[in-house]
């Protein structure tokens, strides 16, 4: 039996029709079943005790901040029946790079195996404050670095739609948990497509909000200027419900915008009548898989039938996006991952004596090959003599990519429609030895991160018998019309009850 929708679960718990703990218990049972055995999908790295997270405000939180920086959580009281409990009893899967108190936070890295955070990520506190329950921590590519969830130190996750294939990544565990019906919604993080691409490959909805919309406090950083927590849902509504609960300003994150959480649920049925949907030519190249092209044509036809004007547009700097992304993301990662040095937490090589040995041995032993590759790339791109040629130039191109989008919005386009991924889910192991082909999985998704704009992947039928995702993008802070367009597409394809 699949999870009931988050909306329905929360309604029934608030109304007292079912006990608040039951949806969590049922989700835990489904999770064990889905992950069990050699053909299990291995979505979770750890599972909660059913009793362990019934308290929305854990006793041992982070040290209190001063008044000026105090992070006030919405609705920290947890009386059932409270309309603020929009997630009452809803079981949520949480990507294992978000800090939680009860469960380890490993980032799927040997380095952090068994690491327990002394504080909880703002998004986790917020979903608990809304009545949500953490089912467990989901698998990912180590530190979010990958597009298949094969770069997990604890083994890959399988795609529930075809267990011989990858679920996409890096948030593959969360996508798989939703696709397998274990939970109605889940948290992921999206640095270059890590929510949208696995959503597309698993046939679920995945949203990356505007940079700054959701707090990054407690999200273990991969590339800080690109990382954003995102949500998965079995439907647009469930992804939106969870996003609304975790959004809004957080004084603990200087890059979180001083804006209240947007009203997403109230605008879900706004439709697309009168809106202009742009299709950027750079995203439907001649080389595009004809089946994916057919799905895109269908999607644009559905939007047109719903009253949107379809327009072909151009984002000329798109072809520089992947190299730009990899220069910037690896540069930031090389610095963000410097703290994993074996001195304070995580792996310390027992044979290391001198300081330099501690660093070398611990990092060699603790990091997987893709993480090492990216640290080396990023360190190189910031080095004296290469800094301007790589990091500096990439920053300039990033500004051009953001400008491309601004020009399109200024021309009256409301939403852009593109494929999410150039291919459907590929077989496990197919690209493991070919980093460049793996990096090209992100070709349609990295631009939203570089420009900081919101984007969503919605199921758009199948190609080659596997799920295909349509990506929609909107101007910064326009999540509400973005998700209304996503909902239109979803309904035209008969989904999202």
């Amino acid at each position: 039996m699949r999870a009931a929708s988050a909306l329905e679960t929360a309604r029934r718990v608030r109304a007292g029709e079912i006990p608040a703990d039951r949806p969590l218990e049922e989700a835990l049972a489904r999770a064990r079943e889905a992950d069990a055995g050699p053909r299990g999908i291995h979505a979770f790295l750890s599972l909660s005790d059913s009793g362990a997270n019934s308290h929305p405000e854990p006793a041992s939180g982070p040290p209190p901040n001063s008044d000026s920086r105090d992070a006030r959580e919405p609705g920290s009281a947890a009386d059932d029946g409270d309309p603020d409990l929009t997630l009452a009893g809803v079981p949520v899967a949480v990507k294992d790079n978000l800090c939680t108190l009860e469960l380890p936070t490993t980032c799927a890295s040997r380095f952090l195996e068994g690491y327990r955070s002394p504080y909880e990520a703002t998004v986790v506190r917020r979903l608990r404050a809304r009545g949500g329950r953490v089912v467990g921590k989901t698998n990912l590519d180590e530190f979010g670095m990958g597009s298949s969830t094969e770069n997990s130190a604890f083994g890959p996750t399988r795609n529930p739609r075809d267990p011989s294939r990858v679920p996409g990544g890096s948030s593959g565990g969360s996508a798989a948990a939703v696709a397998a019906g274990v939970v109605p919604c889940a948290l992921g993080s999206d640095t270059g497509g890590s929510v949208r691409q696995p959503a597309a490959l698993c046939g679920v909805v995945g949203v990356k909000p505007t940079y700054g919309r959701v707090s990054r406090y407690g999200l273990v950083a991969f590339a800080s200027s690109l990382d954003q927590v995102g949500t998965f849902g079995a439907s647009v509504a469930d992804a939106a419900l969870l996003l609304e609960a975790i959004s809004g300003h957080d004084p603990r994150d200087s890059t979180s915008a001083p804006l209240p959480a947007p009203d997403l649920m109230g605008h879900l049925d706004d439709g697309v009548a009168g809106k202009v949907v742009g299709i950027p030519v750079e995203y439907v190249p001649d080389s595009l898989d004809p089946e994916i092209r057919a799905r895109m044509d269908e999607a644009s036809r559905h939007l047109a039938e719903a009253g949107a004007e379809i327009r072909r547009v151009s984002l000329p700097h798109t072809r520089y996006a992947v190299p730009t992304y990899y220069v910037l993301a690896t540069a930031e990662a090389s610095s963000n991952l410097a703290r994993y040095d074996g001195v304070r937490f995580g792996v310390r090589s027992p044979e290391a004596r001198a300081t330099q040995e501690v660093y070398e041995a611990s990092r060699t032993r603790g990091f997987g090959p893709e993480v090492v590759r990216r640290i080396i790339l990023g360190t190189f791109g910031l080095s004296a003599g290469y800094h301007d040629q790589y990091y500096g130039r990439a920053q300039r191109v990033r500004a051009l990519i953001a400008r491309d989008f601004r020009r399109v919005w200024a021309d009256g386009v409301d939403v852009l429609l593109t494929p999410t991924s150039p291919t459907p889910a590929f077989p496990l192991g197919e690209r493991s030895d070919d980093p460049v082909s793996m990096y090209l999985s992100d070709i349609f998704t990295v631009t939203a991160n570089l420009a900081g704009i919101p984007a969503v992947s919605v199921p758009a039928g199948t190609t080659h018998g596997l799920p295909c995702g349509a990506q929609l993008l909107a101007p910064a802070w326009h999540e509400a019309p973005l998700l209304a367009a996503a909902r239109t597409l979803e309904q035209s394809l008969g989904g999202g009850a």
Partner: protein, 516 residues
Amino acid sequence: MTGRAGGEKGTAAPAAAPSVAGVEWHPDPAGEMEAVIGLEIHVQLRTREKLFCADVPEFGVDPNTRVCPVCLGLPGALPVLNREAVELAMRAALGFGCTIHQRSVFERKNYFYPDLPKGYQISQFEEPLATGGLLEVRMGEDGQETFPVRIRRMHLEEDAGKSIHDRVPDRTAVDLNRTGTPLVEMVSEPDLRSPAQVRAYLDQVKRILEYLDVSDCNMEEGSLRVDANVSIRPRGSRELGTKTELKNLNSFSGVERALEVEIARQVALVRSGGQVTHETLLWDERRQTVRSMRSKEDSQDYRYFPDPDLPPVLVSPAWIQAARDALPELPEARRTRFVEAYSLPAYDAGVLTARRPLADFYEAVVRAHSDGDAKEVANWVMGPVLALANTRSREVEALGLEPEGLAELLALVSEGRVNRRAARTILERMVESGAGGAGTPEAIMEAEGLAQVSDDGRIQEWVHEVVAAHPDEVARFRSGERRLQGFFMGEVMKRSRGKADPGEVARILGARLKGV
């Protein structure tokens, strides 16, 4: 470090050995070479909280007790800028005449070190908070000689933790209490030419920082730390020589001494035909020598880039103006005002304004002693009061002496109710008892019977006794040994146990010695 031959004019000069402790400093007796010195000063700001988290920086508490996820660099933790630190840094920068930039940027300085938890230090690099200051430094006995030092930049950054090498045998312990404490790094242009100038500059910088009330300025606790860059060149040359960087300078006198030793080393090296190597040197205070820490060839590449966790720091013109308006009076201005308003000699004004609490104390006494003479107050503060502070190794404000108490004592003197000698006794009692407030001078005077005796009869009596007891001296005085007047004065005062009015004693004694 043996250099290649080729120091043309070095051949004739004997290689002067680097000086050692106790030997007078003669790096270059012929005066052909001059030193070029620039300083980097790290000033810990006395904020309530750390730069990017809410921990309270404290010195001397148990290791690793003033830490949180942010300053520990735990996964997922993020920095949030402390506005108070920006405020104090702006005040400091304005105090040295710098221009505050409306936009400045925090960057990551990447390097591995056990006491640097994130593997990078958040600092400012390309776009610092402030640039382009100037300080006129006073030197010499009366401070009449001055020279300018340009301040290149002042920027905000976070402090690292401390590596402790002597606490756990064979291991290095790390204390992260200091991690994240806000620092202002103040970089001078290479405008200093001698260790003595450096000392004068440092004294003045410290004085200004204290006036600005932005830092504790305590070198022992590390709230003020100095690194020096030094090179030598032929006097009159405009070019800069290869510099070395001196670290581990733990006191102002250590800075001075280390520079003397290093300049002497460089001069000797060049004179013997060698070349200075660009390197970082550690000052060994105990052995009074420098040793190489690392050469610049294997120097670090810090891979600076803007910290994506922190948006640019934006300060409005209104905020800058408010900080400028709130600047306290600085030592130079106060010194000038003291000369003008209180008719003090430049020397007195310099001594009294050397520290802000001392100047505050002086002015409070002057205010409380409103009908008195400001110069007289200066004499008392600079004389007996400072002497008491020195013997107790305390600052004047920590003596327990209240300005009202001292003013009252001075009033007793000016009213002729106690003489100076008794007043000094009363002052000592006030400090000893720790009761230095108003009312105490008179109480002590009464209790100890120190009121001045101006009564003619009593003084006549003491004079008579002294004259009678010293017939020989009287005879010598009368035969012209006028300097014995002081001896008689002393004897009479002794008999009065210090209470006699010295003016009256002089008058009566004079008449008696002359008359009979």
